[in-house]
Amino acid sequence: MELDYVYMKNFRQYLDTKIEFARSPTKNFTVIQGANGAGKTNLVNAITWCLFGEELHVDSKYKGLPIVNTTTLEESDEDIFEVKVELQFIQSEGKKMLVTRSIHYKEGKDGSLVEVKSPHSLAVMRQVGRDWVPPTHGDDAQYIINNLIPPSIEEYFFFDGERMDDYFRETTGKDIRSAVFQISQLELFEKLIEHLTARKSSFLKEARGFSQKAEKIRQLIEIHTRSLEVDKEELQVMQQKKSEAERMEREFSEKLKNSSLEHIKELEEQRYELNRDLEEIQDQIGDIEEARLKLLHQSMPVIFSYDALLKTKSMIDGRREAGLIPPLYQKIFIDNLLRKGKCICKSDITGKDEYSAARRKNVESYLEASQLSEKSNELIESNVHIQKMIERIMKFPEDVVDLGKKVKKILESKEGKEQKLRKIDKEIGESNIENIKLWGKEREKYAKEKERLIGEIAKKQNLIDRRQNIIRASTSELNQELKKEAKHSSLLDLLEFCDDGIKRAQEVRDTIMKKVKGEIEKRTSQQFLALIWKTDTYKGVSIDDNYNVSVPHVSGREGLGTLSAGERQVCALSFMAALNSVSGFEVPIIIDTPLARISSEPSKNIARKLPNYLEGKQVTLLVTEKEYSPEVRKELSGRVGKTYIIDVIEKERGNLAEVKMID
């Protein structure tokens, strides 16, 4: 979907202005140049107001003021003033869609402006074939617009570049997750899961005629389900706080690392290394604890059977020594002898004579013994296993002691490193420089807060797991109980269908989320590395499982906190471009002041590469003269289809904007 034109009547400084946008497949960039205050941001505001009834970024000088043009108010003889913005889109197959939003004002008795309400303030007209169908108004019109451009994601299509340098400073992991969710419409899926779960609970709640036992289980499920929701919300808040504490700890640590004092820099570097070592030590302790648990699980049943094992072994050994265990004969061998009619010594056993009959009887007795012989074989094999188990029991104390020694050694090393850390903290805390002291204290405060929250999160997670287990077990118990009565069969079918739907919806959500996050991370990283002017400085951009964004330095250090304003803007721009690429929405992109914080040489690089990352998208750039330098103009020339300049006409009651096409 492309934007064909915008028409503004009496909207802020635009009196009567129409701007057509570039729509050629090769030249789909429109550049609108204007000085600060000329009306670039209000042009974006006109578009978002027309679509959603709200302006995206209202400048402080316009806040609280009606959107009507003040000069019109002053000079018009009319009783009613109309403010109107019209947007024409070209949808697939060239069909047009016209969105018009208007608002009317009249002068009140006290001279103030009064809005004249109209049910037709928003209208959407669409072309079907060659004809235009009658307009749709009000909520229905808004529904059509929201389906094409969901309002929750408008800020990823219409955004202010100048505000983006602070995007990752002000944006938390939760916001990034929310952006990924919104852009991939997974929010709809979250709602779907939430609502399907609620309907399932409601079916259960509304059902009648339960047995006393079933009723009790139902109540238990209800209580735990309600508590689970609260617990989950609390967990989310805790995780959010933990991420925030981590971010702050990192930020103050970076400040110390970038201090002009060599000694402090060194101390903070040491701290960083020590913390990394401590993390490794913690992992090692975890591994040993796991090994110890495994050893206990494997050895305990054998240890408890120790007496029985000893007794069995001594019994088997005693019988073997006394020659009471039959020797090993293969049944198949004896069977063969009897079939062939031969003795082991090859003499005939089929004859009728006395000797032959005695030999045959002898061979037959071996057949009986061979059956016992197979059992004795099993007995001897078991005895070998029993011996191994007894040896394991004997070795158990030694293994436990060995693991204990390993833990002790690691703990000693841990203590040494922790001591060093405390010393560093003390030294930084006692610094003569106020800033260093403050940063050290702040970092320590957030580190403690993080540790506290990790503990709280683990406790809460444990509680949630327990509740989920109770709900699962009780649900299964309730199903069993309901199955006893045929009258509940329809309810059971319904509950089972809901459960299946919830499970599958979760699967789809998780699959998409993983895919989308991975794609956004990869694209953001690639774009950032391509657009950034410092080569071989950063490894890229990564987004962790909690959706915290980091920019690792090649040295392994976190670099987000030390990026310059321009670098931060590039990082956010890369993220926005990545979100757009993977969004699946064909919405035009409008960027207000995209190069505001970036100096001339990097701007050239961005102008050269950015179009490749927004391939196929219709893009409008609102730029200042400084941003649209001859170098940037040259780099973009192959992609720009239309160029405009906004001239400012100064008026007593507020400036007017006049837009002229120059190219």
């Binding site: 909520d139 389906n147 969901p150 609502h195 079918d493 269908f497 919806a505 998409i512 895919k515």
Partner: protein, 67 residues
């Protein structure tokens, strides 16, 4: 008639490519459509739509299983 042109194609592809039963696929698509409609509403009411869809498709599944 399920109209899903504006739900992100990735979601639809993932549902279509899955090995879920037809009724579950229809359920997810129909409920997504309800959510999409709710998206545009300030105070959405979803319960009625959900119940209608769930009951219809649960019944369809039951009929299929009985056959």
């Amino acid at each position: 008639m399920i109209k899903l042109s504006t739900v992100n194609r990735r979601i639809l592809e993932t549902i279509e490519e899955s090995e879920f039963s037809k009724e579950i696929k229809d359920l997810l698509k129909a409920l997504l459509n309800v959510e999409l409609k709710n998206f545009a509403d300030k105070y959405p009411l979803y319960a009625k739509d959900y119940d209608r869809i769930i009951m219809n498709l649960a019944e369809a599944r039951k009929r299929k299983e009985d056959k």
